[in-house]
């Protein structure tokens, strides 16, 4: 026992530990969900623990998928080969390299971490579920179908083969003409949709569903790491979405962003790496959280310098957005900016140093138990240290000139990224007893670790030694053959280690010993205070951290305790006297029955999948067009079905909501989504400005026909401003209970929005068909970069208008039936979106029509 452990055996770290006898759980039924043994359950469930399991299982499937591609590459690299020799042809090798990177980075590592986040975070923060359970299921299904879409791309001649960074101009059809390459891009678009939905959900939950008195700073370290990860995801993935939409337009609509000589390929690099560097931390932070959590549990020691550890994570999350150009030192960006980004890169290594030292010092101060989760977490720390140190070389401009594009980079980022994944495998063992109720086999776990660690280092360390091998090329200097052979052997040992893992997990599920609620002596977070596995709604009462330790405010039936009141026959919730900052006094009431099942997220994602398959080859005709149409109808139908489905999600009354007290869940979710949309439009507008600077700001006018005048833009500004005013009037009418007023205002909004689109349609038609000396063939999307930026940016805005109008169309009949009379909330939420669309136009109008 360490000096941090109180006499009663409880530990006060990370929100504390339940020390009293837990009240009996009340979760006798599964609220209409079929049992876990039923396949149907897994299509219906919206419960965070089920979704977590689905994420983990699916991510492991993509690990195997990406891993097999890696083994194929390693076989090819057994000896230097000329094109046509060996197992893989040149295009097949390029596909394997690209798909391996994309699958591992997007479809394995982060979703694997979010499987644990889904399962564990609500338990750690004392929530019954995520704030929007159906959106959580939707995130999962979008993720799965996006991965399947990527799989489909292999069967459309070829998947994307231009490397996982998808650099321009390799990403345009001239170099990657296959339909499958477009499908791979669309799969990423679908994946980003999943990530955005998930980010909104986690942020709303973690900010508004924390148990009473659980302050943000006191979150368990895994939850802290997830919170910061999700904030980074929200903004970073929006920039990637912008890049992917532009790329899809270049491939499908003929816009010319990335083929433009001045700035085209640099634009891709900026957009991609503005996402890509935070992505490194998005991948690594959950692993860091696991390491901290596991180190605490298996050393029996609270992490040294905890508040500095958290502060360092916050700092890294912020700094991650100002280092992206260190990936671009070999491009034509100027020396001043390179120097600046070299400095910011050195800067970001400092808080990481602090975290690494905190972890090491925790080991020194505690008493280590060498369990499998610990071994993986400790191994991850060692690997990350090597990955971090070798990365410093790449952050220095001069050294990067030498190392860029070589196996040094490959080795470095595998030590970082797969180093992170190492901790996540530790997480799998750590939470396996909680998730399954069974103990894993410790001996097999250690065998897995030994094979894994040896295989990993045999695979990746020789890459440092053979660093002069050019990246993504299978022909290399024969002098490096021994190192590459060693790496191939290491790759196969690593693969075998996973066979041991899968066997262990499967076998333990069948015959493993039953796990206690808390199988670890010094675990200190709330998930260990409840049964293994936990009941559907997690807790036997309302979790509260009042007094510095986890307690459950009892629910009583048939008698009042602690000032609680009895409702007639229902469940009474004890009143929390003196609720602190950010809490609402929980009054006794009959508890609402939470819903846990919906088929719509699955159907919506399936329809989205069909739509994207159709869109991928829409220029080819054939079955693609009808498939896109059927998918689109399915998407619309599923959205209506989801909106109409009765689905109850009781928001916790007794919860810590700082810093969003008074902003209800739905409204906060909408604001968070809009923040990501700010980055999406910001990246679009930024792309326009960047390309215009590259062209020469005032030269730009030569790319625009004289017929492109201010008036259509001004008329649309008037129409949109008036429609915004109409939405405000709808809200006022709803407040006053005027049904007719609501309907009239919404109809006005609809009419004005349609007017906006008609005006835009007329303008576009005119511009498409201008005949002037400078533009004899009209001014179309592919005419030049000015037309591309104009049509695509205003087109994206137009798409937002169409979405808004569809929502209005849905709301008008409901308003007619009095749904908003005296209830202006739904109109207010819609208004947030509609006014945002208005604000975007307020900038598009001057930028594209006046300046």
């Amino acid at each position: 026992m360490t000096d941090d452990t109180p006499d009663d055996g409880s530990i006060e770290t990370d929100g504390g530990h339940a020390t009293e006898e837990l009240p009996a759980g009340e979760d006798h039924d599964d609220h209409g969900l079929p049992p876990m043994s039923s396949v149907k359950r897994w299509f219906l469930t919206t419960n965070h623990k089920d979704i977590g399991i689905l994420y983990i299982g699916t991510a492991l499937f993509f690990l195997v998928f990406g891993g097999i591609l890696a083994l194929l590459m390693r076989i090819q690299l057994w000896a230097p080969r000329a094109p046509g020799e060996g197992l893989l042809g040149p295009l097949a090798y390029n596909q394997a390299v690209s798909a391996h990177g994309l699958l591992m980075v997007f479809w394995f590592i982060s979703p694997f971490a979010f499987g644990f986040a889904n399962y564990v975070v609500p338990l750690q923060i004392g929530a019954k579920d995520l704030a929007f359970p159906r959106l959580n299921a939707l995130s999962y299904w979008l993720y799965l179908f996006s991965g399947l879409l990527f799989g489909v791309s292999f069967f459309q001649k070829a998947t994307f083969s231009g490397g996982w960074t998808m650099y321009a101009p390799l990403n345009i059809p001239a170099y990657t003409p296959e339909v499958g390459a477009t499908t791979a891009i669309l799969a990423l678009v679908m994946f980003v949709a999943s990530v955005t939905v998930s980010s909104v959900n986690f942020l709303t939950t973690m900010h508004r569903w924390r148990a009473e008195d659980l302050r943000l700073r006191d979150l368990p370290l895994f939850s802290s790491s997830i919170l910061l990860t999700v904030w980074m995801m929200l903004f970073a993935f929006a920039a990637l979405l912008a890049a992917l939409i532009v790329l899809s337009a270049d491939r499908l609509l003929g816009t010319t962003y990335f083929v433009t000589q001045e700035g085209g390929s640099l634009l891709w690099a900026h957009l991609f790496w503005f996402f890509g560097h935070p992505e490194v931390y998005i991948v690594f932070f959950p692993a860091l959280g696991v390491m901290a959590e596991v180190f605490q549990t298996f050393t029996g020691k609270r992490i040294v310098g905890r508040k500095w550890f958290v502060a360092a994570m916050v700092l890294v999350a912020l700094q991650s957005f100002v280092v992206w150009m260190h990936h671009m030192f070999l491009t034509a960006i100027n020396l001043q900016i390179k120097t600046l980004f070299m400095a910011t890169t050195i800067g970001i290594s400092l808080p990481f140093d602090l975290m690494v030292f905190a972890l090491i010092y925790t080991l020194i101060k505690g008493r280590i138990r060498f369990t499998t989760p610990f071994l993986f977490s400790f191994g991850a720390l060692l690997l990350f240290i090597i990955g971090g140190i070798t990365g410093v070389f790449l952050g220095a401009v001069v050294l990067d000139y030498e190392f860029r594009g070589t196996y040094w980079v490959v080795a470095h980022f595998h030590y970082v990224m797969v180093g992170g994944a190492t901790a996540l495998f530790g997480a799998l063992y750590y939470w396996y007893p909680k998730i399954t109720g069974k103990m894993y086999d410790e001996f097999l776990g250690k065998v897995h670790f030994a094979l894994y660690f040896v295989g990993f280092n045999l695979l990746y360390f020789p890459m440092f030694l053979a660093w002069q091998t050019p990246r993504r090329v299978f022909d290399y200097n024969p002098a490096y053959t021994p190192w590459h052979r060693l790496a191939t052997i290491g790759g196969f040992i690593l693969a075998v280690s996973f066979l041991v893992m899968f066997y262990n997990l499967y076998r333990s599920l069948q015959t493993g010993a039953d796990a206690d609620d808390n199988p670890w002596e010094y675990s200190s977070t709330a998930e260990w205070a409840i049964s293994s596995p936990p009941p559907l709604e997690n807790f036997p009462g309302l979790p509260s951290y009042k007094g510095g330790k986890l307690n459950f405010v009892s629910k009583v039936t048939g008698g009042a305790t602690d000032g609680g009141e009895v409702t007639d026959g229902g469940t009474a919730v004890a009143t929390a006297a003196g609720a602190g900052h950010g809490t609402a006094a929980a009054t006794a009431h009959e508890e609402e029955h939470a819903s846990h099942a919906s088929f719509w997220p699955f159907l919506l994602s399936l329809a989205g999948f069909l739509t994207f398959v159709g869109v991928s080859g829409i220029n080819k005709g054939g079955l693609y067009t009808p498939l896109a149409a059927v998918g689109g109808l399915g998407v619309a139908g599923s959205l209506v079905g989801m909106a109409r489905e009765p689905f109850t999600v009781p928001s916790p009354e007794l919860a810590e909501k700082w810093p969003f007290d008074g902003v209800e869940d739905m409204k906060l979710g909408m604001w968070i989504f809009l923040a990501s949309d700010v980055v999406l439009f910001g990246a679009f507008i930024g792309s326009y400005l960047f390309m215009r600077v590259a062209e020469g700001w005032r030269n730009w006018h030569h790319l625009i026909p004289a017929d492109h005048v201010v008036m259509p833009g001004l008329i649309n500004t008037y129409l949109l401003l008036t429609s915004s005013f109409a939405v405000v009037l709808a809200m006022v009418a709803a407040e006053r209970g005027s049904n007719k007023g609501v309907v009239a205002s919404l109809v006005a909004t609809l009419a004005l929005g349609i007017g906006f689109l008609i005006n835009k349609g007329i303008e576009w038609q005119h511009l498409f068909h201008v005949h002037s000396e400078a533009f004899p063939e009209g001014w179309e999307l592919s005419t030049n970069i000015a037309s591309s930026t104009f049509y695509l940016t205003t087109g994206l805005h137009g798409a937002h208008v169409i979405v808004g109008l569809l929502i209005t169309l849905y709301m008008i009949p409901r308003a007619w039936r009095g749904a908003y009379s005296g209830n202006d909330k739904p109109i207010e939420y819609f208004g947030l979106y509609w006014h945002f669309v208005d604000i975007v136009w307020l900038f598009l109008f001057p930028l594209f029509y006046i300046l």
Partner: protein, 92 residues
């Protein structure tokens, strides 16, 4: 929350500002010297910024929400500006 009168006044201001932006173009400043162009540029962009703040503050009720909501949106805006400004500077 604001009164209908205030909402209406805001609508009128937004309408007028948009018109002024078009009139600046109509006045031919943007075809003039660099100094005149960038002065007109500044006027037009500042008017757009004011309009955006008014819509967000009053129509979206940010004025009455906790400041933290504004910070969330502000963070997105800063991220987009950082990308745009640094990227544009990198090729100067």
């Amino acid at each position: 929350m604001a009164s209908t009168k205030l909402y209406t006044a805001i609508y009128v201001v937004l309408f007028v500002f948009a018109t002024v932006q078009a009139l600046v173009e109509e006045a031919g400043w943007l075809g003039g010297s660099d100094t005149l162009y960038w002065a007109a540029f500044a006027v037009i962009i500042v008017l757009s910024l004011i309009k955006a703040v008014i819509v967000a503050g009053y129509y979206q009720h940010l004025k009455w929400e906790p400041r933290s909501v504004s910070y969330v949106i502000g963070t997105g805006l800063i991220a987009a500006l950082a990308l745009t400004i640094a990227a544009a500077y990198s090729i100067t």
